[in-house]
Symmetry: C7
Subunit: 97 residues, 7 copies
């Protein structure tokens, strides 16, 4: 099952907490705060402007996005997995290698 | 009797709580929180934009929609059944198989 | 005497409480909450949009309308009868047989 | 002396309390609440829309208007008489015989 | 020294309290509330609308204007005299003989 | 070093308190309240309107401006001097000789 | 790794506190307040106006910007470095030599 988000909404799978350093050392308690990053699962068709035109979103499926500390409260369960529903305006930017 | 919703309003039949697992095991108390999903019964003619044009809604009769935790407070009784009145902006997306 | 509502306002006669079932059995105390339904008595000429055009209302005289629990606070007395003044945006939809 | 109201403002003379019934019976204390009706004394030239055009008001001098319970707080004294300053949006409608 | 108000701002000299009746009788304590009237000293070039056009103000230098009870908090001192800075929207109307 | 303000922002050097009268008499404690006047140091390129056009500001470098009592909270240090950052909408008008 | 900010967002590296004077004298405790200045690392593609056009931002990569005391709360960690996410409207201006 999947979800088709409406308009300027974006479905995001939150990045899992990293509880170990790159070198593999376990950091107990280090993951108390959930990371504000995730992978875009699907995007809406765009934001509807006052003049009726539709502005396509600036993120794409597969993008790794960073979002605000206080975003990510809206969640849905899809096949037992919790996904986030964000608005495009919740997203700060896209991480690039 | 049925209701014809105005403009960007949508009538939704809330999904019933599942109190048993897929395998049929009863989960007592598991349904304390109402599911934020439902089936679209009827949709309005569309949202009226500032320039006077009408934007048709992005959901259709029969769609299974997911909506916010704090939506679904507006209810009406039609032939003894409680239905929800949502705005299109309350809806996160449409579930697809 | 009658009232000609301005713009997007609508005059509604609230449906009387039903204190008996269809079969005629009296339900004492059953009507504690006022029904959020009524019949449209008269409608304004329409909502004025930002571009100056007038959008005719989507309800008509005689329609049975359903409105929000917290609407219906604005009342006027016409010939000794209390009528409601609603905005079109207070109205969820129109009941149809 | 008279006042020329600006734009969408309307000058209204509040209807006097009726402390007797049509049959002439005095109703002591019956007029505790001020009536939300009045006669239009003068109207502004119209509401200025975002596109710069002017929308003439939908009420005229001499109309008997009904307004909200919480409107009518803005008053001016003209030749010793207290008059109300309303916005057109404060007015529910016009009473007609 | 004088002030050139910007856009939709208006400089007003508040009418002095009248502490005597027309017949010259002194009314002690009668002027506790400042009058909400004044003479327009200068007006801005107009309100800028969303479409970029400028709407000239509907009051002119020398007009006697009435304004809201809670307007008139913004003051400036010009050559030792306190003048009011109002927005056009603070003004109810213009008094005419 | 200088600052180029963005859009409708204006950099202002606040007028120094005058602690002596024109005749040179010192007024102790007279300057408790900061004057709401200042000289414009630099102005932004203009306010961007909803239709995308840019509206040039109505004040110029060197103008003496008066601003609201509660404006002037935003300050920056340029070469050890505190300057104010105002929006054009904070400014009441321009003083002229 | 780098971040591509969306629309009117701007990534800024906050200026480090200067704890010594120009002459090299250490000022203990002088840096209690974080400086509201920083260098622009990357800028979004522009602000989307109501008419659907995109307004390019007025700051560029490498600009030294000054921003409000209460901005700069939104941070992201990029390769272990804390960067600020600002909106263009948070920025007062650009410092120039």
């Amino acid at each position: 099952m999947k979800i088709r988000p409406l308009h300027d909404r974006i479905v995001v799978r939150r990045k899992e907490e990293e509880t170990a350093t790159a070198g593999g050392i376990i950091l107990p308690g280090a993951a108390a705060e959930k990371p504000n990053q995730g992978v875009v699962i699907s995007v809406g068709t765009g934001r509807i402007l006052d003049n009726g035109s539709v502005q396509a979103l600036a993120v794409n499926e597969g993008d790794v996005v960073v979002f605000g500390k206080y975003s990510g409260q809206n969640t849905i369960d899809i096949d037992g997995e919790e996904l986030l529903i964000l608005n495009e305006s919740d997203i700060y930017g896209v991480l690039e290698a």
